[in-house]
Amino acid sequence: MIKDFIFSIVPFLLICSGAIYSKKAGTLAVFLEGAITLGAFSSFVSLQLTNSFIVSIILGALIPAILFYFFEKFNELVNANSFITGIAINMCITGFTSIMSYALFGKSGVLFFSVKPQNSFVFLIIISVISICFLVFTEFFLYHSKKGLAFRLCDSGGDYLDSLFIDRKKIRSISWGICGATGGLAGTFLSIRLASFSTGISGGKGWLALALIFLASDKPFFVFIWSFVLVFTEFFARWLVNNFSQMTQIQTLLQAIPFIAVLFFSGIVYFARIILNKKNSTKSISL
């Protein structure tokens, strides 16, 4: 159960850590669903062809990273609305993976490995370790380094960056590349864990990750906390269904528990912040 719990958190850690870069650079990563799907498909195909986990993990991260890096370059070149192009690329990737799976494997829908891959557990552990290390790296890079400061100023302090001749567009492209890489790696993880691929493999995790980074105020530590809360409540709902026969009748209703729990706790956090800020301001007035 602990293994399942950790493996359920890992995709959120990966996706959120990449999305933080993109949000700091000034664009909301609405293309995450596409990045996850493309990463999962790339890793599935490369694993089928090469039978090597290492190659599949590398390609699963690299292909989306390169695609989204150049895609943001294209957005800048033609002055496109990145929200619309993000949604459009999600559609394109869903269609593309479906076409390619038909071309390569003769069918679309759910694809299974023809030969079950051995030692997948080891590589899932490796990706889990990578996800935690990257989250820690993100905290130090974004909040304790000069280059990270440039990322953080990209949206709000753009004129300052221009005065230092730091190219904001380059930072934005790099952020999309990082987001693509982490999303692709999350897709790789899901594909290896499920030993299959389908166009719906992301299951809405991209949108949920965006909500989590807003809740976490772009701080990697709080991303971990909120991912933990979300997955914990999902497991709690599942535990209720598995252990209490009456709960199977309201199984659909229990799917709302994670969202209600996250809303509830975030409400407490936000209101607590307001109350604390008010107390501090009245203290300073009285002084």
Binding site: A80, A88, L253, F271
Partner: protein, 316 residues
């Protein structure tokens, strides 16, 4: 290849469906535009459409025995109000959380919608299920509540007139009224709005509430116009399509109808070609995505005109 582009105009059935989708999508687009004008973003449209459609249908089902025109009119008015109130309330919670606790409406609206959808599915699958059917759906609403068909066998129905009136009223609101101008100012910049004496957060709360109400109304009109009963996933994609159209027209109501038409046309090309077996559904989505990317490119003509005027100034 030519069939792909001509099919939506080929028969009255296809053209009627194209027209219906074009005008129907104006409402969720308007629902997306209101918060965008004030600088907010409503990502909870799916849940709001579902809630509005579900609860208004329940009201109509409870009046299924109505005989007189007064009772029928009363039922329709009540169902409309319920759709507006339920959808508006779900969005109001996000606005209130934004105003009081500075909680991002992007998060709260998305989470509220995601929380409501399983609740709605449970109510639909157990309490309000039509047990005479094999599908997970409510009973069909009485024929006296259904919108009348304008082109037989197509989806084009009389709800398009209500939608057009709402869009015209919204256009007048933003163009000619003081609150409309205040909304637009609030979206331009918080500091400017505050300096002018307006509360940007209060305006965002109001715009989110209106957005939720319009989404609720979308659900209601979808039921009385097209589906006639609530089934799982009937709301799917409506809100996102509306948001895409709102961004395509850059929240400018003058371009809302053309943007909606272009989007609906693409959608119908893909749907019709898939149904006819010309292309797969996902292949169609691929081409739709490509075309959307092209459409999102801000006019290069503007850039060309600017460089031309710069050259003219240099020569002078």
């Amino acid at each position: 290849m030519l069939d792909f582009f001509i099919l939506p105009f080929s028969t009255s059935f296809h053209f009627g469906n194209l027209l219906q989708l074009t005008i129907f999508l104006l409402l969720p687009s308007l629902a997306a535009i209101f918060p965008l004008k004030t600088g907010a973003l409503n990502l909870g449209g799916e849940g709001q459409i579902y809630a509005g459609g579900l609860f208004s249908t329940l009201v109509l089902l409870s009046f299924s025995q109505a005989q007189t025109s007064i009772s029928i009119t009363f039922a329709m008015i009540l169902a409309t109000l319920v759709a507006l109130i339920v959808g508006g309330f779900l969005a109001f919670i996000s606005g209130w959380a934004l105003e009081k606790a500075n909680m991002s409406e992007v998060v709260s609206s998305f989470l509220i919608s995601s929380a409501f959808i399983p609740i709605g599915d449970y109510l639909l699958g157990s309490v309000f299920l039509d047990k005479s059917q094999n599908l997970v759906t409510t009973e069909k609403i009485s024929s006296m509540f259904r919108a009348s068909n304008l082109i037989s066998s197509s989806n084009l129905n009389s709800t398009i007139f209500e939608i057009i009136i709402i869009v015209i009223l919204a256009w007048c609101f933003f163009k000619f009224t003081k609150p409309g101008m205040i909304f637009t100012l609030s979206g331009k910049g918080d500091e400017f709005a505050k300096a002018a004496g307006f509360s940007p957060k209060r305006n965002r709360t109001i715009s989110l509430t209106i957005s939720g109400a319009l989404n609720g109304l979308t659900g209601f009109l979808a039921i009385i116009g097209i589906y006639h009963s609530v089934h799982i996933g009937f709301y799917s994609g409506m809100s996102w399509n509306g948001l895409t159209i709102a961004l395509l027209c850059a929240t400018n109501l003058n371009f809302l109808l053309p943007a909606s038409f272009v989007f609906s046309y693409l959608q119908k090309c893909v749907d019709n070609a898939s149904l006819q077996g010309l292309i797969g559904i996902n292949t169609g989505n691929f081409f739709k995505g490509l075309l959307l990317i092209l459409l999102s490119i801000k006019p290069l003509i503007k850039k060309f005109k600017l460089t031309k005027s710069n050259k003219k100034e240099k020569n002078d």
